[in-house]
Symmetry: C2
Subunit: 360 residues, 2 copies
DNA sequence: GCATATTGTGGAAGCGTTTCCATACAGGGG
DNA sequence: CCCCTGTATGGAAACGCTTCCACAATATGC
C-alpha cells in the first residue's frame, strides 16, 4: 500500500511553493501566470495527486460531510422503507455538491458516548431521521452547537429546530373532508404509534374536521394501533366486537389498513361493500397486497431532498430561524371507499361550520 | 456557535502538557501518577471535551471510517431492499467497534472525479455493494490501494478482491435437486438481470444439475428476465405462447416469480394445480403478495455483517489473500410447487449420474 | 525619475491531534 | 559519592492542507 501523493510533492515537481500549488489546485488561476498554472496542473496530473480531505477539513474547519442520524429508539431503522426514500433524497441533493453523508446509528444509551458518537468533529451538520417523542436525539440537539434539521417529523414549535415533513394534518384533513363529502358520517379511526408525532397529528386533524363539520367522534370506533400490519388486524378484531359498525374506517397508515382489511375479509366482511377503508401514505410495498386502497400519497424522497437543502442553507448563511416545511399530500382515490349505503345517490352533506376546512 | 474545546485547553486547565493530557485521555493511565490522571480527567469532564476525530485521523493516519459504496450502474440503489439489509449488517458490526460508515453513491461518470469521490483520504476501506458486471467500481478497485471487499456479488476468481455473498450456485442446486426429486422433468427457467453475476450463477447451477441428472434443458422454456416483477409477467406471457408447457418454472428471484404468477392467474392458469412455480430469495416484501411461494431463503444482513468483519480483518492484519465467502441458502417449501400430475403417487426419479449433486 | 499600484510568489502560522524522544528527578547498588 | 535504572513529564516534530500577510518585481501616474 504505497503512500499517497501529497501537495508538497506536487509543488516540488512544479518548482513552486506549497501556497502556489494549493491556490492553483483550488482553481484560483487568475492569481498566477498561465505558465505556472500549467506547470502545477501537469505535475498534479502526472503524479496522480488527490487532495487529502482530512487535512483540508482540518485546515478549513469544515468537513463537507453531513450526518444522517438514525433514531436509536427505532430498531434497525435502515430497514424501513421510509428511511430509504429519505436517504435517497438526501444523497441526491448532496452528491452533486460534493458533500459526503455519514450514517450514524448510535446504539449506545449512555449520553456521553452517544454524544461523542454523533459529534466528534467529523460532520458539519446533521439530519435527524424521524425523531420520535422523547428521543435522546432531540435532547442532544438542544444542547449541541451543530446545525441540524429533522426530516420526517413535524416537531412542536418549542423545539428550535428546522424540520421537513409531510403535512400530516393537512393531508388528513383532505382525506377526512373527502370522506365526509362522500356522505360518510359514522367514521372509525385506527391510530398510529403513540411515540410518533405524526400519529397525533393525523388523529388531531381527523377530530378537528369532524368537529368543524359538527359530527361526533364515537370513541369506541377509535382504536389504538402502532403503524404495524398486525396492529391493523387487532384493531379490526376489536372493532368487529362493537354492537354497531361505522360505515368507513380511516387507518393512520397503509400498513394498518392492509392488516385491517385482511382481518375483515377473514371474518367475512367485504371491503368496500360492507365497510369502506382508507389508508394513509400510499406505501408502494402495500400496493401489491391491497391494490385498490384509497389513500393519501406524499413524497418521502422530497422530504430528504429538502431537508438536505435546508441544512446546507443553514450551514452557509448561518443559523437562521428554524422554519418548518410541510409537503402536501394528495388524495389517491381507488376502490376501498364507496359512498355509505344510506346515502348512495342521496343528498350529500356539507360543512355546518362556516369555513374551517380549507386546505393549506 | 461557540468553538469546541481543544486538548490544549484541557491540558492548560489540568496544568500539564499536551502529551500528558493526550496520553491520559487515551487511557494510558499507568504512565502517570494517579493524581495527574485525576486532574486531567476532571478537567476534560468539566470542559466537556470531545476529541476531534479529524485531527486524530490525520495524526494517526487512519480514519476509522469505512465507505459503503453504491454501484453507480444501479439507479437509486438505496431504494432496494437488498442494500438495506446489507447496510444494516454493516452498521451492526461496525457500530460497537466505533467505526463510522460513509455512504458514497458516485453519480459522476468521469473516472477522475469518480475516483476522487471515493478515495479522498477519508476512509480506511470500502465495501462495494453488489458491483455488477463491467461496473466502474471494479475497475477502480483494481488500481486502488484501498482495502475493499465486495458485498453481494460473487466475483470471478480473476478479481483479486474479497467478496461475501450468498451461495447462489449452491442454493440453486439445492432447489433444482429438490424439484427433480419431486418428480419434475420439464422445467422452465426465468433468468435474472444479465449484468448481475448472480443471474449467471443461478442459471449455471440450474443447467449443471439438469446435466448431472441427465435431463435436457428445453431452451424455449428458458426466458430472459431482469429481476423485476414486470419481467416476470412478460416471461409468463411469452411462455404461455409455447405449444407445450413445462410442469414447473423456476424464477431467478421472488419478484419475477410474483409477476409470473400474477400473469398466469390472469390467463386462467392455476398455480400450482396447472403449473408449479418456485422463486428465489424469500423476499419479505413479496410475501404479502404471494404468501405461499416455495423459494430459497438467505441472510442478506449476514452478508453485510461478514463483509464488514472481513474488511476490518484486512485493515488490521494487512492485506491477506482475497477470500470469497459464500453463505448457504435454505429451501423454504411452501405451496407453489407440487409434484407434477404424471408422477403424483408414482415412482420418484433419482440422479442418473453417480454423485454430482451433493450440497457444498 | 520618484512615489504608488499592481501582479506574481513564497514564508510561516495555523488546524487539533499523536508520538518519538529527551529530560528531570528519585531511589538503589556499588 | 557516583552511576545506573526506572518513573513522571514535557518539547517538538509530525500529519497534509489552507490562508494571511509580506515581499519582490514590474507597471502606472505625475
Amino acid at each position: 500500500m504505497k503512500r499517497r501523493v501529497t501537495l508538497r510533492e506536487v509543488a516540488q515537481r512544479a518548482g513552486c511553493s506549497l501556497t502556489t500549488a494549493s491556490n492553483i489546485l483550488q482553481g484560483r488561476y487568475h492569481l498566477y501566470q498561465a505558465q505556472t498554472v500549467e506547470r502545477v496542473l501537469t505535475a498534479a496530473r502526472e503524479l496522480g495527486y488527490r487532495a487529502n480531505h482530512l487535512a483540508r477539513s482540518l485546515a478549513r474547519q469544515r468537513t463537507c460531510t453531513i450526518g444522517f442520524i438514525l433514531d436509536p429508539t427505532h430498531a434497525r431503522i435502515t430497514r424501513s422503507d421510509y428511511a430509504q426514500h429519505v436517504l435517497d433524497g438526501v444523497l441526491a441533493y448532496l452528491e452533486p455538491l460534493e458533500y459526503d453523508v455519514k450514517i450514524i446509528s448510535p446504539r449506545v444509551t449512555d449520553p456521553d458516548s452517544f454524544w461523542r458518537r454523533i459529534d466528534n468533529g467529523t460532520i458539519d451538520g446533521a439530519i435527524l431521521l424521524a425523531p420520535t417523542i422523547g428521543s435522546p436525539l432531540l435532547e442532544w440537539c438542544q444542547h449541541s452547537a451543530l446545525p441540524a434539521v429533522a426530516a420526517g417529523s413535524t416537531l412542536p414549535a418549542n423545539y428550535s429546530l428546522s424540520a421537513v415533513d409531510i403535512d400530516n394534518e393537512g393531508a388528513m384533513r383532505l382525506l377526512v373532508e373527502w370522506i365526509l363529502q362522500q356522505g360518510h358520517r359514522e367514521i372509525g379511526f385506527v391510530k398510529g404509534h403513540p411515540l410518533h408525532w405524526s400519529a397525533h397529528q393525523r388523529e388531531r386533524a381527523f377530530r378537528a374536521v369532524m368537529g368543524e363539520w359538527g359530527y361526533p367522534v364515537r370513541e369506541e370506533w377509535v382504536l389504538q394501533g402502532d403503524y404495524s400490519m398486525e396492529s391493523g388486524q387487532r384493531a379490526a378484531e376489536q372493532l368487529l366486537r362493537c354492537a354497531a359498525l361505522p360505515s368507513v374506517v380511516l387507518c393512520a397508515n397503509d400498513g394498518m389498513a392492509a392488516g385491517f382489511i385482511q382481518a375483515c375479509e377473514r371474518r367475512g366482511i367485504r371491503i368496500p361493500e360492507d365497510l369502506s377503508v382508507a389508508g394513509f401514505d400510499d406505501e408502494p410495498l402495500i400496493q401489491p397486497v391491497i391494490p385498490h386502497l384509497t389513500t393519501i400519497r406524499h413524497d418521502k424522497y422530497q422530504v430528504g431532498y429538502l431537508a438536505a437543502q435546508i441544512l446546507l442553507q443553514q450551514l452557509e448563511q448561518g443559523q437562521s430561524t428554524p422554519q418548518p416545511i410541510l409537503l402536501p399530500g394528495t388524495l389517491i382515490v381507488r376502490h376501498t371507499v364507496i359512498a355509505p349505503r344510506a346515502v348512495v345517490r342521496a343528498g350529500i352533506g356539507s360543512p355546518q361550520s362556516s369555513e374551517g376546512g380549507s386546505k393549506r
